[in-house]
Subunit: 415 residues, 2 copies
């Protein structure tokens, strides 16, 4: 049995404790985690300094070093995040409906934890705590595998959380961190079928691809977003410019940011200069089709075919003038990734058709794609945004970290 399988086995055994704990018990653990994070802030900051030192040696950019850095204030924010998860309603145990069959059997679907959730991520150390407490609150054990940049910080944060579990009389193996950030170990983790009930990769397109290719564990693809804003011929152009600007510029590094705009030919002459002016506020580069370049002149550069497939995660946007609603839908169907798509229009039929015909996790009329988010959708939290169709689609909150089992009350029924 490999080390990874040993971890899986321990997680599976420990998962029964957290699944059976009940809301009050889980909430107590979460509040203790928040307290212990604050009490141990000194240690955590010490460990974080090691990561920062390594990062500087390895030439991480100032931007990445800042994302990595933990100080008292950031640890307070992390602890406050834990408290906010503590306050969320617990989805576990709810029987959504109990039906009576003609033979008298009472059949209900009861919401239960998934079991053991594996999470592979590449991001900031705060994700370690976020992901862990969402797993705990939904009654799941977790195996976390963070990125190498936050190695020492992640160990320190997990130690604190594990000791909070222990203090509550629970098996600390409910929460385990993979003590190795090699690619080989990540692939081993993807193959832990029988131990992991689901694997959630959070990170680059490369990581997601590796999971699709290697995982034998059921996995949920997250966060690939080539999102479009389509400005229809009947759009309120002022509103369209605002929505486009927000979708592109409010946070270009996230998956729900717009990467492409489509403009109906009837309004292109008028709208493109408006868009150009608005996008100038952030010096956005427009990579446009021939028609776009014709209208915007120096305001756009020529887009390649590749550009229409690209998630820039930057102040860059591709732009195509389309000759009809149908061309817009066909373009999104071809180039989109099924994340978030928006139309701006005052036309009733165009709005309804867009909602019906676009196949994506979230489809918007007259609003920014940036709202695809667990908090904005009212879930109170988010473990990721699913861009696949099985199990969960769009923002995944605590409910999406559970499954159901059928409970059946009989009085001697046979078939």
């Amino acid at each position: 049995m490999t080390d990874m399988e040993q971890m899986g086995k321990r997680a599976k055994a420990a998962s029964r404790e957290i699944a059976a704990l009940g809301t009050m018990g889980k909430n107590k653990v979460l509040l203790d985690i928040a307290d212990e994070l604050l009490k141990n802030a000194g240690n955590i900051i010490e460990s974080n300094k090691k990561d920062l030192e390594e990062g500087r040696k390895n030439g991480l950019s100032a931007h990445l070093l800042d994302r990595l850095m933990l100080d008292e204030k950031r640890i307070e924010a992390i602890a406050e995040g834990v408290r906010s998860v503590e306050r969320l309603p617990d989805p576990v145990g709810e029987v959504e409906s109990m039906k009576v069959r003609p033979n008298g059997l009472k059949i209900g679907a009861k919401r239960v934890p998934l079991g053991v959730i594996g999470i592979i991520y590449e991001a900031r150390p705060n994700v370690t705590v976020d992901a862990a407490v969402l797993c705990l609150k939904s009654g799941n054990a977790a195996i976390l595998r963070g990125g190498k940049e936050a190695f020492y910080s992640n160990i320190a944060l997990c130690d604190v959380m594990r000791s909070a579990l222990e203090k509550n009389g629970l098996d600390p193996d409910i929460l385990q961190l993979v003590p190795d950030t090699s690619r080989e170990t990540a692939v081993k983790m993807m193959k832990l079928s029988g131990y992991l009930d689901v694997l959630i990769p959070r990170g680059s397109a490369g990581l997601i691809r590796s999971v699709v290719e290697n995982a034998t564990v059921p996995a949920i693809e997250t966060g690939i977003g080539n999102c479009h804003v389509y400005i229809d011929k009947d759009a309120d152009l002022e509103m369209a410019a605002n929505i486009l600007y927000n979708a592109k510029c409010s946070r270009p590094s996230v998956c729900n940011a717009a990467e492409s705009m489509l403009v109906h030919k009837d309004v292109a002459e008028k709208f493109l200069p408006m868009a150009r002016k608005k996008l100038d506020e952030k010096n956005v580069e427009i990579r446009g089709c021939e028609k776009t370049c014709e209208i915007l002149k120096d305001g756009a550069v020529k887009a390649s075919e590749e550009d229409f497939y690209t998630e820039f995660y930057d102040y860059i946007i591709s732009c195509k003038v389309v000759s009809s609603f149908d061309e817009a839908v066909a373009h999104i169907t071809k180039y989109g990734t099924g994340h978030s798509e928006a139309i701006v229009t005052e036309n009733y039929t165009s709005a309804q058709r867009f909602l019906d015909e676009i196949d994506a996790a979230a489809v918007y009329v007259n609003a920014s794609t940036r709202f695809t988010d667990g908090f904005e959708f009212g879930f109170g939290a988010e473990i990721g945004i699913s861009t696949q169709k099985l199990h969960a689609r769009g923002p995944m909150g605590l409910r999406e970290m559970t499954t159901v089992k059928y409970i059946v009350y009989g009085n001697g029924q046979v078939r």
Copy 2:
């Protein structure tokens, strides 16, 4: 591009037609399929004769040949099955709730088809029609890969269904049959990511294992059932004997049949002879633990450790006398496959604890495990029984063959 990828590409393109068709259009197709099956019964029976001939040459048992055989009466039954699916409510398009966020965004989760469903099966030719019409009714395109024994029958059945699609002005590639029953082609199908939205294997444990190992497409494991009946110390023993007999004997070849019984030591002396007598009606072999053999003498043979892991699919059952409720739960947790588990008891706390502590798709109090079935659960149909936790657990009906997309109505919201 391989042949398999070509099929995937055509299915993906065609899937948009069936997804957009609407309930009336889909129902019309289904009724036409039922009619055409009856009209073409002669051709179908001719093709089926080829399969039967091949089967005889290859030494298939009389039992298997009978399962394979199609005659007028069986084709009528298949057509009637299609009509019953036509009458089911269509899950597609329903918005289960539309919530308004504080910023005025209206967010609803709309039920939509999955897209393209792949089904690999090894069973009788009627599965070809069952599976196809469930996919169509739920708005999905389908790629079917049947077993080699029914090769010619499956081609004939699919041709009929495809011509019904064509007659309705639809792309016949909404429904495709893989024209090759080799293992290599099946593995290629498991790797059709980007084209298949989900793969549902229906068949032997070997097939399911192959899917877990090879699939890059999201798959749903189905139908592995090592189901237990636990007779608690507070059981109504008469009821227990009836439930046990039904769970084991009403249809031993199916996944929801019981393969093992656990008996509390306090009632073992009294219950085991009752069970033996009842199971004598079908000459069931009991493979028991030491204590069982002590009580039943010649009425049981000694069980091996392996027997407790085995799905016999036959008139054989393993039996263990347990010294406590906790031992029963631990035994099921160790040996069970998470399909269907039953307790027989009059004790309130034992019943509730069993429902809480057993981790399975369906957990029963005082009823036979044989009820885990889409029809018995009131879903009106069934594409399989999921024994995994993602997406669907337990019987999967039309609803489980769909996903959701979030539709968002705004009036200019930005974030």
